[in-house]
Amino acid sequence: MSTIIEVNNLGKKYNIGEKENYLAMRDVLMNIIRSPFSWLKSKVGIGGHSGEFWALKDVNFTVEQGEVLGIIGRNGAGKSTLLKILSRITPPTTGEIKLRGRVGSLLEVGTGFHPELTGRENVYLNGAILGMRKKEIEKKFDNIVEFSGIEKFLDTPVKRYSSGMYVRLAFAVAAHLEPEILIIDEVLAVGDAEFQKKCLGKMEDVAKKDGRTVLFVSHNMGAVKKLCGRSILLEGGMVKMEGETGVVVDQYTNGMASQNTFIPFKVKELDVLVTKIILNEESGGAISPFKPLKIDIEIEAEHDVEQVGVEIIFSHEDTSGVVFRTNTKTIKNMDIQIKKGKNRVTCLIDNFNLCSGRYLLGFGLSLFMIKYYYYNLALLNFDVSESMIGALPTSAIYSHVYLDHSWSIAN
């Protein structure tokens, strides 16, 4: 095997405020007129370097040909920045990357889809945007359509598609991308469960049968464990750990914030700040089986946001299996409107039927069936204390979930 990707001392610096506040040329010109000297200083690089932020620092790793490498870490750990540099969307500030093969990146499903164009037309457009040649698309066209399963609507403008159909078609195009190095960001977080499974299967094929190199970023630890042999864990822009996937994933889940150390985070696309997620506030965070569980989510918005689905996911720490998922829109068909200012979204579970043990709390903000603005399966962890049920404590050794039931016997 030969090395196909070599990352050396990679670093990326952002100037804080560069993106958040759009510059007005008027202000820049006024500053030059008002204080030409300080402007000159900042141009030559003397003055202060106030708002600097290193999204990545001293990142080193190599990837062998045919390897599937998982990249995990919390939001803001630098995963997306790394993928963006690898796909040449943004340049690094320091270091270099050597790539020995054609790179195809899938940072989003359906990039460049145009609502006015038909499904057929969008397959060509999207294919070209993802880096396929026209001939290549023509050759694969039938396979793409078959994979998507929407033959009948091929000549309908995609604006009339249901969101499910849209995602299917978009993913079908993406799945037929055949570069030597494939970079995949959390794209599987959309679509229905069956289609997600199909996509995961397709990705397994890409990696294992075709022997292509894949870099896979995901919050879905189950998928990472299934697909990737080796993984790297990013934390604060640095590689915290590198090695066999099982070990790295364990390290990641252990190091995760418990509910007491929640760190507020921003969802840029919606301009909202999630300031707090509190479990059972009244009882100081204690969670017991068969008692109510109340989850309060505090969201501060810069402007009104309509039609957003708020999602809560519980998964079990050891297995990463999702035990419960609810979404205001998909599950409860409720339209949540976030208003400018402070909002508090509350989810109340009358009877918390999970048995004792440690669980991961996942959180998402989504646009119904189209995409997630934010998605993290493992945002916090929380412990469910033991209590007695029948003759024994509610230890998860027996089961994770307790279902209401009764026994009877007829003799």
Binding site: Y14, E18, K19, Y22, L23, A24, M25, R26, V28, K84, I85, L86, S87, R88, I89, T90, P91, P92, T93, T94, G95, E96, I97, K98, L99, R100, G101, R102, V103, S105, L107, E108, T111, G112, H114, E116, L117, E121, Y124, L125, A128, I129, L130, G131, M132, R133, K134
Partner: protein, 272 residues
Amino acid sequence: MELIIKPKNKWWQFDWREIWLFRDLFYFLTWRDVKVKYKQTAIGAAWAVFQPFITMIVFTVFFGKLAKMPSDGIPYPIFVYTGLVFWTLFSTSLSQVSNTFLENERIVTKVYFPRIILPVSSIITNIVDFLIASVILVVMMVYYHYMPSLAGLLIIPVLILMTIFSTLGIGLLFSSLNVKYRDVRFILPFFIQILLFITPVIYPVSIVSEKYRWILGLNPMSGVIDAARAGILGTRGIDWLLLGVSAICMIFYCLIGYFYFKKVERYFADVI
């Protein structure tokens, strides 16, 4: 094939080979713009004729008939339409090119491709309109009995190229500034409107005395429109001094636009 990603690439280099690799994307983006444009409008391609034609009628009534604007002895409708065909190509392309990176934000921030493809493809889209609008010009030439001179016929492709490159040069500068400074998009319509009045569209260059006429050439479209009138309508020889000054200015604007664009293009995804 080995590709090295480094903090600084040689930004002054124009990578023809890479553009060639992405030629299909270029084709599809242009095709998308043309297709979407004509799908959305009820009258489709007729829109391309409609806009300069109605403008021509309005200008003829107000500037030609009421304000008695001179037109070098040429009937005002055909005089102003010749200018308008080129002006429309320039002004619509310029405003589209200037917004092209913002409008394609989704693909700029998610996929890599040579960014220059976007502005060039939005200009090409407008050439389709230009060609359709030119048909009306031919009809008017038949109606008013005007024959282009030989030099006039030969110079047309050059004039079209000059319009394209002027748009590209100025457009690259504006579109790159637009990514970083969000007030540029508000300045632009105003800028284009002012430019219409300092370009000889509604008046002939002969209203400026011969000695100072070359100054008009600082605006590349002055040279283009003046030469278009002289050549296509075949009424007089082409003012080579004016056209020459315009050509030099065009090259100058292209260099400024291109270098600024190259300097900032790699950071588009960070600031857009």
